[in-house]
Subunit: 337 residues, 2 copies
C-alpha cells in the first residue's frame, strides 16, 4: 500500500523553512509485533514542532534525526493491528509520524471513545496534550487560588486560550496578552476575559501595571522573551510563573539573538517561583481530563480549531505558528473518518 | 545618654557610596511601652543592605526613608527594658538600627542562650538569618536529594559557604563558584568541595560542563547575572534554582544596566524550577536551627567572620561586599560584651 510522509532533511536552525522537510511517497512500513497500523485523520501542528526539528535531544523526548519521518500528536483510525486491545476501525490518538498511514507501537496509542457531542477536532484542541497542559499548568504548576490575578500570554492561542477560559471558569480575574486587535477582541467578547493587552500596540509593562494594580499572581506563559520580562516586573508577592512555552525564542538563528531577561532579581524580592513543564505534570491526568470534559459540556471552554486540508500542506502550515497567523488550534486534516 | 547612629541621607541609586549615610551623635531615644533598650555588640552587614538603601518598599520588609537610622541584624545586650521577658544583661539578637544603643520593640528580639562553645560572632555568621537561609534554601526550596549535584555561587561568601558545607555534610557532590584563586583554594582545602570554579579566570559555562557532566541538579545562587545564565545552560532535567541573592545586580545605576539572562527557555525543556526566597522558608526554622547546631558541634560547618572594629566604620565597610573583598561573614563590632 502506498504511503505519503514528511521526512526530515536538515535541522531547523532558526527562521523555519519548509525545506527542513521533504515530501515522500513510499510503501507503508510492515507491521511489527505489538504495532498498530493507523490511518491518520488529524495531525496536530504545535509550536514545539519547531524545537523538535532542531534535532537536539534536549528539545524533545523522542530523538529525531535527518531521514526520520517528522513526529506529532494525531488522531486516527486503526486499519490493521498486531497488538492486543486494538482492532480495525478503532478510533485512537497518540504520537506518530507525519504520514498518511503509520505503524505505531501500541504503547504510544490510546483509545478515543466516540461521542456525538465531541467533534474530532476537539480531540486535538482540548482532549489532548493541549488541554492537559492548560489544566496542569494552571492548577498543578501554578497552584491557582481563588483570589489570584491570572495573566496568560498567547491568550488567543491553542493552550493559552484554554488556560484563560479555565481560570475564568474558576472565577479568577484573567488578563490576556495577544497580538493584534482581532485577537484582543476575541479575548474580551468570546472568552470574557477581564482585560486584553495587544502587545503589538502598547507597552506591555505599563498595560499590566494598569490592569493588575496589585500585581500578577499567576502568569501562564507561552511566549517567553520581552513579555515574560514585563510580567516579572509586575509580579505580586509569591507569584508563580508557569513556563508552558517560549515561542518567541524557538525560531532564532542562534542563542546570541535570544532575548536577555533583566528582571530575574525580582524573583527574590517577590519570593516568586518559576517552573517549566512539558505536557501534563504531577500525575493528575485523569482528574484534569474529567475537568476538561465538564467545562466543555458546560460550554465554559470552546473548541477552536484552525484546520488545514491535506497532509501535503503540513510543512508550509507550520509557518503560521511562527507568525501567529493561526486562528485556534492548528491541525491538518489528512483523511476523513 | 549619648548615642551614635548612621542616618540615611539619600537613596542608594547604584554604585554605593558611604555618603548615603550620615554619622550622627544624638541622645538615646526614650523607651516606649514594650520596648527594650539594647546596647549593640555586633552588627551584621549584608549584601541586601544595599537593596534596603534603595528605599523602595519592594526591596525590604520594613520601609526605610531618608532621616531613618539604617537597619540591620544585630546581637546586643539589654540595658533597660519596658517589655516583659527581657531584663538587664540579657543577651539578645534581632533587627535594629545601626546605632550604639537602640530602643527595639520586644517583638523584634529573641533571647540568645549563652554557650561557651559558640563565640558571639557565630550568632551572626551561622545562628542567624544567614544559617537559616542556607539550610532553608538548600533543603526546603532546593528539596535536596542524596544524588543531587549541587552548585553554589559566591561559595566563599557568608551564606554560600554554609550552603556548600551543609550539602557536603549531607554527602552530595558540591561545586563552588568564587572570584579569585585564594577563595577557590579555600573552597577546596577548607570546605572540601569537589571542584571550585574561579569566575574571574575561566569560562563558567565550560567549567560547569566539565565539572558536572550530567548537569546541575540544585543551584544555590547568591549572585544572579551571567553566572546564573551559565548555570541555566547546564541544568539537569528537573533542576531546582534557588535564588537566595543576586549581588551582581544589586549595585547597578539603573535597570538598563541589568544583565539580560538568555537561557530561560531551558527552564521549559529541563522542566526546571526557580524560586526566590528571603531568609527562612516553610516554617521549619526550629528544625534548621537544630541542624545548624549539630553540624557546628560536629565541626562540619565553620564560623568564618570578618569583623570590622567600630560602628564609625560601618558605612565604609559595606563597600567590601560590593567588591567581594570580605573574607567570611562581614560584621561590625560596636561594643564589647
Amino acid at each position: 500500500m502506498r504511503n505519503r510522509a514528511w521526512v526530515i532533511t536538515r535541522p531547523n536552525q532558526g527562521g523555519y523553512s519548509p525545506e527542513c522537510l521533504r515530501w515522500e511517497e513510499r510503501e507503508v512500513s510492515a507491521l511489527g509485533a505489538d504495532e498498530v497500523l493507523v490511518r491518520t485523520l488529524l495531525l496536530s501542528l504545535d509550536p514545539t514542532s519547531l524545537n523538535w526539528l532542531k534535532l537536539e535531544p534536549s528539545y524533545t523526548f523522542l530523538p529525531l534525526a535527518v531521514g526520520d519521518v517528522m513526529l506529532g500528536a494525531a488522531v486516527g483510525v486503526v486499519e490493521n493491528s498486531r497488538a492486543s486491545g486494538f482492532e480495525r476501525s478503532d478510533l485512537v490518538q497518540g504520537m506518530w509520524g507525519w504520514e498518511a498511514y503509520s505503524a505505531v507501537p501500541a504503547l504510544r496509542l490510546r483509545h478515543v471513545q466516540p461521542s456525538p457531542d465531541i467533534p474530532l477536532e476537539a480531540r486535538l484542541s482540548i482532549f489532548s496534550h493541549i488541554g492537559l497542559a492548560a489544566a496542569a499548568g494552571l492548577l498543578e504548576v501554578g497552584a491557582l487560588k481563588s483570589t489570584d490575578v491570572v495573566v496568560v500570554s498567547s491568550a488567543a492561542g491553542a493552550t493559552g486560550s484554554l488556560a484563560a477560559q479555565i481560570a475564568k471558569a474558576y472565577g479568577n480575574k484573567v488578563v490576556g496578552i495577544a497580538g493584534g486587535e482581532a485577537k484582543c477582541q476575541l479575548l474580551l467578547d468570546t472568552f470574557k476575559l477581564d482585560a486584553a493587552i495587544d502587545y503589538k500596540a502598547v507597552n506591555v509593562g505599563a498595560a499590566l501595571a494598569k490592569a493588575c494594580p496589585r500585581g500578577v499572581d499567576v502568569f501562564f506563559d507561552n511566549v517567553g522573551g520581552a513579555i515574560l520580562d514585563a510580567v516579572l516586573a509586575n509580579m505580586a508577592m509569591g507569584a508563580r510563573i508557569v513556563i508552558c512555552g517560549a515561542i518567541s525564542q524557538y525560531d532564532l538563528a542562534d542563542s546570541r539573538s535570544a532575548y536577555g531577561c533583566r528582571n530575574l532579581p525580582l524573583m527574590l524580592f517577590r519570593r516568586a517561583r518559576m517552573e517549566g513543564f512539558l505536557g501534563s505534570a504531577g500525575g493528575r491526568d485523569a482528574e484534569f481530563e474529567a475537568l476538561l470534559r465538564r467545562l466543555y459540556t458546560e460550554g465554559k471552554i470552546l473548541n477552536r480549531s484552525h484546520v488545514i486540508d491535506g497532509l501535503e500542506n503540513a510543512a508550509d502550515a507550520l509557518k503560521l505558528l511562527v507568525t501567529g497567523q493561526n486562528d485556534g488550534k492548528l491541525m491538518v486534516r489528512v483523511s476523513q473518518l
